[in-house]
Structure formats: C-alpha cells, structure tokens
Assembly symmetry: C2
Homo-oligomer: 480 residues x 2
C-alpha cells in the first residue's frame, strides 16, 4: 500500500462524520495535542504558526489604526470582578479561582481572567484625567480561562488564546464608531485574508456579551451548515465607566464618564478555517496564513542534478514566500499526501526530465490542478497562483454560503427547514425573547445576528414565531 | 518654572536613592502601573513596546536556529508537577493553586505554571518515538506565576512575562551544545543589542535551577554595583526524561532516554536596561529596542514652514526608523525633558532658521551632544548616530563593569570589599557549600557564577573563606 493511500484512509470522510473528520485533521496535521487538564490544549508548532501569522496581520492593522499593546495581569481579585453586576453574573459560573499560594490560604480569592474588562477599567480609572488623555486604544494578546464543561479543539476550550482590544472615548459617537470600525477590520480579515465570507450584524439582547450595551458579531458558515461566531465587537456605553468610576475633565471643564468598547478574536478562527476550507484529504489553508506556502518535492532525488535544482528553486522563492523543501527519505507519494493533508497551498515537483526543460510541476491544493511552469518565471507564477488560490477559495465558500441560506415565512416552514436543510435561516422576529426561546426549543437554533439596515429584507410583516408584527429580519442557525 | 525643570525635579537623583530613582523612572516614563493583585503589574504601552522589540529580535534568532513556537497550557495538575522530585521541591513554596471552578471544588488542585518543564515533558513523552523525531526544539512566549513575598517592577514579581525554550536531543553532547549555544545567543543579544556587557558562567549547585544538572547564567552589573541574573540556560541530562518516561527507539534499535535543556529570558531584562543605562534625566534606551528611536520637535511651530518641514523629516525617516513627531501644544522645553526621560536615542529640533539652511539640530540622548545636520543627508546620519550611540553605551557600561570588579585574596579582604566597594568580587572557592553560606552570612553576597575555563584566573591557591585548597574562581556579589 502506498503512503498516500495509507494516509488518506486515516482521515474520516467529511460527509460520513463531520465531527470525526474535524478531530482527525487537527490531530493528524499536528495542529494540537491534548493536555493533562481537560479542555486545555497544547497548540503544536504547525497550529501555532498559523496563529502567529494571524496575529502578525491583525496586530499590524490594529497598530495602523493607533492601537497600542499592553499586558494586564492574569489574576483578578474577586471584588474587582464583581464591580459590574451584569458582567459578574455572566462570568461567575465559569471562572477558575486561585485560593491558595504556596502553603497559605488567600484572604480574597483571585480568579484567572475570563476576559479583562475589569482590569482595563481599573487601570483607566487611574490614568485618565482629562479629555486630552482620550481616546485610549489598548489591546492585548493573551490567554484566558473559562471553565467549559465540554470542549473541542480550537472551537471550545477552557483555555482560549485570543486578542482583546479595550478602548475608551470622549463621546458615545466615537466609541460606537470604534465598535463598528473594529467589526469591519475583522470582516475584512476574514474575507480578504482567510477567504471566508461572513455575515455581520448585532446580537440580540439575549446573546450579547455580559455587561455590553450592544454586541456586534462576525458570523461564518461551516461546511456542515453550522455557524461559527468568529469575532465580536462590543459597545459598553458608559456602564463600565460608571461602575469603575472612570471620569475625566471634559472640554467644558465639567466631569464626564467616557464611553468604552472591547473587541476580540480567538484561536477558534483556526477551527473556522478548517471547517470552511478543509476537504477529504485534509486541510486547505489560505495562503496568507499558511505556515508553509510552497513545498518543493524532488522526484527521483538521487538522480544527478535533482536535489541541486530543488535547492535552486528553494533559493529563488525563499525571500518572498514561506517555502520548505522536503528532501527526506519518504516516497514522493507519501510526501504528496502529507502536504495535502497539511493544506500547503502550492506543491512544486521537480524531477530529472523537468530539469532539461527548465520547468517543474505546480499543483494547487485548492483544486488539485497541475501545470508545468518555467523555473525562470517561478517567482511571479507562484505569486499569481497564490492569489488565484485565495480568490478561488473565497468563491467556493461564498457559493456554499449562499446555497445554505434559507428563508422561512412561518413557524411550520421554519421547523421544516431546520430539520431538513443545513445552514442559516432568514426569518422575521418581533424582538420578544419568548419567541427567541421558543425557536430554540422547537427548532434547535439560536439567533445568530440581526443584520445591518442595508442587509435587512422584508420577508414578511409578521414574526415567524408568534405572528405578531415583526421588527427585524434575523439570521438563525445551529452554532458551534 | 519651565516644564523641563519641573519634570527633572520629579526624578530622584540616582546617587541619592537608587531604589527610588528606579521606581520614579518606571512610573514617570509610563513603563508600568500597579494592579489590584500585589506583585502583578500592568505593563503599559511604552514598556510593552520595549518587550515587543526584544521579543522580535530574539524570536527571529531562535527560529533561525531551528526552534519552533508552541503554546502549552497555563495550568498543571498537581500530580504532574510532582513527577520530578527536585523540581517540585524548588517550586512548591511559591505556586498559586486553583482549587475551585465556578461553584465546584476540584478533585485535584491545578497550579498556574511557575515554569513549564513538566508540561513539555509530558507532551514529549507522547510525541517522541524514534531518533528520527529528535531533536525537538520548542519555545513559548508566555507569563508565569511565582508567589514572591516582595516585588519590584520588572525585577521581581508574581507574574513574570518571559520566554521558555525546551529542547530534547538524542545525545548528551547535543543537549550540552544547545545549552551553550543558547547562553551565547543571550550573551550576544545583551552585548550587541542592549549594549550591556555580561559575565557568563555556571551556577553553583546551590544556586542552580530546581531539577537541572547544570545551570548557566548571564550576569550583568547594575549602576549601583548589584548583579542581575539576566538569562539562564539549563542542562537537564536525562533526569526529566526518566521522570516522565520519555523514551525513543535509538539508532541501534534499543530504547534510550533523550537529553533535555531549557533556557529563558524575562521582562526583568527591562529592569536591567534601566539600571545599566539610565541617568538623572531618566531612561537611556538602546536604539535597537527603543519604542521611539527618533523624536522630531518643531521649534516655533506656528512660524511658516516649520511644521511642514518637520513632517518632511518624518517622511524621510519613517520607513527606516521608529520615529515620532510631537507637534502638541506643550513647550519645546517640556518636550525635550519628556523624551529625555523616556530615553529616546535621537532628538531632532527643527526651527525657522534651520529651514533656511536645510539643517536641523540633532541631540544624542546618551551624551547630550548637539550637532547641526543637513536634512538632505539625514537618513544616513541618523543611522550612523544610532550606531555610535549603541557603541558608546556599551563602552560606558563596559568601563563601569571593569571598574567594579574587585579581587579578594582572603576573608578579611573579602569582607572589607563587600562593605566598601560596590560591585563584584572575584575570589577563589573550595566548592564547599558551607563556605558559600558563610560568605553570604558575613558579607551579604551570593555566588553569581563560576566563569568558564578561559576566564578562570588563579588569584590564589586557597579558598577565600576556609583557606583549604581551592577549586575555582567565582564571581560573588549582591544581587537583585
């Protein structure tokens, strides 16, 4: 049996058992490993390199927009966490408490941050004095702990690696604009860097972040029709400022409370990349975040000139791309399948006959198309191919998303669709939480978001659930 | 009173009260803020940008040497921490224990990592099977918790931001070489990037890392004559492999235990930069890690052409340097003093008369020298000046280090020097821990390191403490 067949067989087919397919990939592609603490995972080099590439792109965008990185403490005293009522209610059931240090019992419990609003606010209350100190545009990259009962690699875990931006502004307009800007930064990142089409909108009050006035979300649709809340941006109004007594001397020389936002994206985005783009051979990685963008595989590597040519190609590409040459003793077939599984966007094969013709074989991971390319033109060609791969991945994902958005005009239709058609359901809503709860009960879906004005459609004039006059169109769906 | 005088007065003079001078700087230069948990600090944007620059340089070096970044969990189950006897003995008194999650008591306590040897070893025991899997060269950037009773910003704290490399190798020679290589990477970084001369050597058994066979250290000398252990590199032999049952199929088809190392550098290096280079006006930052390398200050900014010229200069420099233009309404004097305090290596002043002459004033932070420079040649000039600043900072620190190394031939001399002369003491040692303890008792010093063979000197033939035949020359000193 060839290495190729062997490896492919080890991954469950996507349509047979999507959950198992997912778990197979994260393990076989060596993205993660389980640790001794349930729900805390180890992110292995290949997975972490994806996160580093994501970080690099987003960190630059944040900084270009004037944000600065800081480091807040890992631990929050219990009394500090309790200062904002809604916030503590939301997080209390899932925080980890430090109660002992060395051999001593602590007099006050400390929680490991489940998110850092309270820490930022306490700091802001000390450093903000005048409108001249505003805005403060801070961000941190860190990990947080939320004691989830169930966990799935990257999608739901006790320890979560993420980025959390926390800003304060002089006016509510500015803070609202920031909330919107950062939502757009995320949306742009998903669409243009990850080739993942997204739906934007506001969360319903039931689904918003604990303590936020408004939560905006970036929702993506996975291959199996479930949604993934992929990034969020929150507007806090002056709720936290009042709870933490953050005040500033305003332009009229009065004392005012500033307006705050926070926004974040987590390693669950890696789960999204897997579930939007992956196929039965494994990962398919967006070129911009692929740890290896081009893999060079010598064919008949012991034949004269082959390895030299492979290294020559490596040298041509190394400055502009993340490139790897695999000259190990494994068979070419094994290597093909290995790097297909790892989702490397472009494979270059170079054998004795190619050398004579100054060419090599280029294979695209997204559609497995093969072509012969001139080595002298390789740099430009690879650049073009990566760009085509990116567009094609987006086009495919976009097509699937569109095909998986269904419309329900009444409750029967809604239930029917929820049973038979994977994907999202567009339906009208009266804005009563009772209907939201009922739809969850009868159809197993939650509200994903209320799309913005320009995306709103008048599907009918009545709430899909209760039949009363409706107030908005909502995207509903099952979600990770 | 001008802004300048006001600010300078706020910093305690270095020779009056060094500890207070240090605390003044970290606060006034906005490097950090205290948090609600004693010993956990907030690293503010200016301090964190220094850490980011340090990370970027070192991370590249690590990767160039084949290391890969990973993320291990934050939490370690108690039984895992206890697997290596010496290791747990060293860390048990200072770990923070999570005992409750949400409303539930945990059946097994989890500690917040004080270091991650145990986590890496457990992972390695699962993924290493053959000599073909070796070496594994992993690293992670993260924070750790050690419950210290006393704390000082950057120097000693409960939460420490650091990098920890963990590697495993087929042979002890390779592991020893790695330990040495990484020590040299750190030494090179201190000398060439931070302009801090260092002393290298091995720690005595009493001072080595809990669980290590050998610990090597990078020691730097602060302005006040105290040493700072600035980076360490540990050789574990196969102790952890045996404790964690990491085995591999070797080249003879037998089963062997691999050899391990770990090495790290922490945010305390920022404390070292402050205490080696800072002066009575504030920080003096090494150009390579300065968040702002060049600050442009317009003089008479409302006069025609001044702001335009300042922006022109900004545009000339922005691609190659981290440059800031301060066109705020503060007075030039206030700005001079502000950026001096913040240690910005180069200040450019541009006023109406300079424009006519196509020049500006360049002021070096390290020696406060002023010169007129042609704007048309600015890019090369700034590059040269930054390079000169780097060399000059190193030269000054090196001169001070040399002047602060004293030699003691007997115990009376040793005690005399320890009382009267700040700095390090070179003295011979019999390698008996009894003498090491006695020197601490009578002179308040600890062993800093046993320098390598080529740096060993035969100061005398007898141990400075007990008079018995000596085995090595040791650097002794008070330390942070």
């Amino acid at each position: 049996m060839s290495g190729k067949n062997k490896l492919v067989e080890e991954i469950t087919a996507r349509d047979d058992d999507f959950a198992k397919w997912y778990t197979d990939i994260v393990k076989k592609a060596e993205l993660m490993d389980y640790s001794g603490v349930k729900g805390c995972m180890i992110i292995r080099p290949y997975g972490f390199a994806m996160w580093e590439n994501i970080k690099e792109i987003l960190d630059k965008k944040f900084k270009d927009l004037g944000h600065e990185n800081v480091a807040m403490p890992l631990l929050i005293p219990e009394n500090l966490l309790q200062k904002e009522k809604d916030h503590i209610e939301g997080f209390a059931p899932e925080v980890a408490w430090v109660t002992e240090c060395g051999n001593e019992k602590l007099t006050e419990r400390l929680c490991i941050r489940p998110t850092s609003e309270t820490l930022f606010c306490e700091h802001y209350s000390r450093i903000i004095k005048s409108y001249r100190d505003l805005p403060k545009l801070y961000n941190q990259w860190c990990s947080i702990i939320r004691w989830e009962k169930t966990s799935r690699p990257f999608l739901r875990s006790v320890e979560i690696f993420w980025q959390e931006g926390h800003t304060v502004h002089e006016t509510s307009e500015e803070a609202k604009q920031e909330t919107q800007n950062m939502l757009n930064v995320y949306a742009d990142f998903f669409e243009n860097c990850l080739s993942i089409p997204v739906i934007l909108g506001k969360k319903t009050p039931k689904e918003k972040f604990s303590g936020a006035e408004d939560t905006y979300t970036v929702e993506a649709l996975m291959y199996d029709g479930k949604a993934l809340q992929s990034a969020t941006s929150h507007y806090f109004s002056d709720k936290f400022s009042r709870a933490f007594d953050i005040t500033f001397r305003d332009r009229q020389n009065g004392v005012s409370y500033p307006f705050a936002t926070s926004w974040g994206i987590a390693t669950r985005v890696i789960g999204g990349i897997i579930m939007v783009h992956g196929d039965d051979s494994g990962l398919v990685l967006p070129p911009l975040i692929a740890p290896i963008q081009v893999v060079i595989i010598p064919i008949s590597k012991h034949r004269e000139g082959v390895l030299d040519k492979a290294r020559e190609i490596f040298d041509i590409l190394r400055e502009d791309f993340r490139v790897k040459i695999d000259d190990s003793d494994q068979s070419p077939g094994w290597k093909f399948s290995e790097y297909e599984m790892k989702g490397v966007p472009v494979r270059l094969e170079i054998g004795p006959r190619d050398i004579e013709n100054d060419q090599c074989v280029l294979v695209r991971r997204d559609n497995m198309e093969k072509s012969f390319v001139k080595i002298s033109k390789l740099k430009d060609l690879v650049f073009n191919e990566l760009s085509k791969i990116k567009s094609n991945m987006y086009k495919n994902a976009q097509k699937r998303l569109k095909s998986m958005i269904n419309v329900a005009r009444n409750l029967d239709e809604f239930i029917e669709i929820s049973k038979k058609k994977p994907g999202l359901i567009k339906a009208m809503w009266c804005k009563d939480e009772v209907c939201e709860n009922k739809l969850r009960e009868v159809a197993g879906v939650t509200s994903r978001c209320i799309p913005f004005e320009k995306e709103q459609e008048k599907i009918s004039t009545e709430c899909v659930c209760c039949g009363r006059p409706c107030k908005a169109m909502v995207y509903w769906g099952k979600a990770y």
